[in-house]
Amino acid sequence: MEEVKVYGVWASPYSQKVIWALKLKGVKFDYIEEDLHNKSQKLLQYNPVYKKIPVLVHGEKPVAESVVILDYIEETWPENPLLPKDAYERAVARFWIQFGQEKSPTFHAFFRTAGEQQEKAVKEALEVLKILEEKGLGDKKFFGGNNIGLVDISFGWLAHWLEGMEEVVGIKLMEPSTLPRLHKWIKNFKEVPVIQENLPDPEKLLAYFKVLREKFVRDLPSNDQ
């Protein structure tokens, strides 16, 4: 069997998604931690277009962009499927994965800005979460139904990273009273053994977010602070 390598960063939910998918399928891989301030030659060679993590390398063939990587993993290792068999259900799953991608700037703004800009981001983020809860998750245990799938994996950052971001920013988005189903989903998601065993240390993550937040606030134009 050909060697599988994952280039990632411990704090990134994007590389964690790839790790979760591989572990759920029982695929053995080597993990290489990248220093984003000093990117390795290999990373630049494997992802010349974006120069970002994560990158999956199978044999010597690189796949970049987490959404593309997840699809590749699903197709290459079909055991323990993470996407529905039905073509329509699959299109719906892909829709939600793309929705998550499209809305990430809103959550970036939530974390990186202050004042009016942040207020706007908070309002948008709450709308996004409401849509996700009512239209994406609905009454299901997981986005994937009874078991987790690629959509759950794609929103995994809400289950562990958002908490730290909220604490550092001092604003809570994921209120159990307004988003009860998503709240329950977070609990269920983190109870899945592969997920539970593959989350970055929350203390370490919180410290990391604190440093990042300080830097972002410092770099804001003065009238936004």
Partner: protein
Amino acid sequence: MADEVILLDAWNSAFGMRVRVALAEKGIKYEYKEQDLGNKSPLLLKMNPIHKKVPVLIHNGKPICESAIIVQYIDEVWNDKAPLLPSDPYEKAQARFWVDYIDKKMYDVGRRVWSSKGEELEAVKKEIIQHLKLLEGELGDKPYFGGETFGFVDIGLIGFYSWFYTYETLGNFSIEAECPKLIAWAKRCMEKESVSKSLADPHKVYEFIKGIKKMLGLE
């Protein structure tokens, strides 16, 4: 049972053109419903309540949104002829990567071409050339992005060809001068009936944008 296929689309949407080309490649009969994006129909709002955008494919009453997702759906359901995506998972991943790149880059720069001027416009122009050159590099000496046969990435990009004349005229540059192989590729694609019948007339697109600019006082 006969399939009912409806496409909600707008004539000049490069994304809608992707779906038109895919449906034509597969020989699928469908009803085309032109949408007025300035006055969105109840049907569009019902079928795509979250984004309220075109294209939307409605297959036996069920909506599928997002053009790249729609094309993959069409390929998976009507899998008896004209495969649009490669069968090899790695080749498929590469195709998805490039359509994702086109999604991320082309719509945004395209919009900024007509809404900016002066230095800003020059910057957008440089970006367009940069993206098209990268795509041209990926094409290489192959007849199509997929190799010998027309496929997903070709479908992903070709709709934007109907917007090139608009970019060139507003930006005062020639895409052919910058990316001759890409233009040769586009002309090769246009020889296919599925493409030539699906793409908007570039001059009509330009007239439309001229009208928008006038209306918004952006001349």
